[in-house]
Amino acid sequence: MKKYLTIIKTYWQRGLTYRFTILAYRAGEMAEAVVLVLMWTAIYSDQNVIKGFTLPEMITYFLIGNLFSAATRNFLPGLMSRDIKDGGLSMFLLRPMSYFNFILSREIGRISFVTALSLVTNGLIILFFLNYFIFNFDIPYLLLIAIMISLAFIIELLISYIVGLVAFWTDEVDGLHSTFDKLKKLFSGGYFPISILPAIFVNVSYALPFAYSFFVPAQLYLKKIDLMAGARGIFVQIVWIIALYAISNWIWKKGLRRYEGVGI
């Protein structure tokens, strides 16, 4: 356990050396949220309810959803493809610790500071639009959301890990990563609540893992779905974690045989 903590700590320190970049990104995040709120306010100017969402609900949906997605995201694929392409992976293959465990710890260390800051800025944005924001202090709901977000974090890591592993075959995964990110955003409800789409689309989303890092917890927060539906979601997430873990293991073994440790 201590080794994981040391890795987390080491890369947390490293993250701090790039404080400027981290802060610069936050500015963009805040600007985006403001634009979002302005846009929806304009759309709602001549109607009170769209597909069952009032304006405060819609704004709360995005603000709280952004908070969730900030808590679950990672930047693994770029780093991994670099490791694989430049042969940096070689150094990890030598050590008595699996690459998976290493990069997971490293990623947690790397992003914890960014995530913490991002949570703060997203919190600030909520404060800024306090008039529109709907509060929910219902403990069972919040608890369920917390579990869901933690699992979503793991799922996102596993998905990113798999995307990163594709670099064994393609060297680069930027394109795949970006396409995946967009699909994810769509299916997670990051562009708009997926419930405004046809029912089939919504059902598919519930079966996919993406909705659980934005749409589902946001709906739970707004109490638009009940605890039972939330619990079902947790079950789906667990199934996904098992499946993704198995898939990633399999791809790792296949990929490693192709690995050439180039660069020296």
């Binding site: 320190q13 030598l94 045989r257």
Partner: protein, 325 residues
């Protein structure tokens, strides 16, 4: 039992060629002809505990590829390698805790952090106890003389300083087997000497088995009694460095200095092939068996000989000759 045993080890890489220019790039986007590079072709050798073996060969000979297979980074295409009784590609933790690979051109230190942080990271990953860590680190810091650079970001260090830190990081877990791939590349002569002295001492004191590749003959001459030479993926020599010289250099060099008024070139030409000449110094190449005889002849000649040194041919020349085959 040998510590390292390699049997018929082969590795071929997949690659493809791409014509230059835009058309070439477009063509290779749609159809690539896969080619295979046979980097290592059925090599055999075995190494005993505590040996320090030089692994030589021209660029592209397959040295790095072999070391990577021994470290478990690459799967061999065929053949078998055993190190400390383990199959490297199984990547067993017990194996990984007992060896280290240092590559002069690849770093394991985290560039944005001081070397000390990387040492601590390795300590935890290799599960080194606090006591052992302290002891090993003190020793390494002392011999490598890096005490005053441990708290500086690694990327701000000079090449030589970084290399020393790399070595220290790789030795934190006191490996039994050490693979060194061009550890002195790009270093100045003083730094090279430092690293060499360190390795020599380390090998002697810890009985660590070391395989070392280098393109600097000084490294090899100074450190290794045994060399394995590979070329085009095949072992072409495996044995004592002295034997190599005897076998491939049937000559010795007579290095003669003269005093008084010096001499003329034609006065020494009859003794053998003159390699170097000035009025007060000449280097003559003579057959190995004739060296003593010629030396005596020179001393008893009327030439103003001040001193004669009988020396081996330079190892560089021997290696060049062997590579050339």
């Amino acid at each position: 039992m040998p510590i390292i045993e390699v049997k018929n080890l082969s590795k071929s890489y997949e690659y493809y060629r791409q014509e230059s220019g835009l058309m070439g790039a477009v063509k290779s986007f749609f159809a690539r002809e896969t080619l295979y590079a046979e980097a290592v072709k059925g090599i055999n050798f075995s190494i005993e505990e505590g040996e320090l073996v030089g692994f030589l060969g021209p660029n592209g000979a397959g040295k790095t590829t072999t070391l990577k297979m021994l470290s478990g980074i690459l799967y061999p295409t065929s053949g078998d390698a055993r190190v400390l009784g383990f199959k490297p590609t199984d990547r067993k933790k017990e194996y990984q805790r007992q060896f280290a690979l240092v590559m002069g051109q690849k770093n394991q230190l985290v560039a944005d952090l001081p070397a000390m942080e990387s040492f601590i990271l390795n300590k935890e990953i290799y599960e080194v106890s606090d006591n052992d860590f302290k002891k090993t680190l003190n020793e390494l810091v002392d011999v490598l003389d890096i005490g005053n650079i441990l708290d500086i970001q690694t990327r701000k260090l000079s090449l030589g300083q970084r290399m020393k830190c790399e070595l220290a990081a790789a030795l934190i877990h006191s490996p039994k087997v050490l693979f060194l791939d061009e550890p002195t590349i790009g270093l100045d002569v003083v730094a090279q000497k430092n690293i060499r002295d360190f390795l020599k001492r380390y090998n002697k004191e810890k009985k660590t088995t070391i395989i070392l590749t280098s393109h600097y003959m000084e490294d090899i001459k100074d450190l290794c009694r045994r060399v394995i030479i590979i070329n085009l993926g095949k072992v072409i020599y495996d044995g004592a460095i002295d034997e190599l010289i005897k076998k491939h250099a049937p000559y010795k060099l007579l290095k003669i200095t003269f005093d008084e008024n010096g001499i003329r070139r034609d006065q020494v030409e009859k003794y053998g092939e003159v390699l170097e000449f000035s009025s007060y110094r000449a280097v003559i190449k003579v057959a190995r068996g004739d060296a003593k005889k010629v030396a005596i002849a020179l001393l008893s000649s009327p030439l103003p000989v001040d001193d004669i040194l009988i020396d081996e041919v330079d190892i560089d020349d021997v290696i060049r000759k062997v590579f050339g085959k």
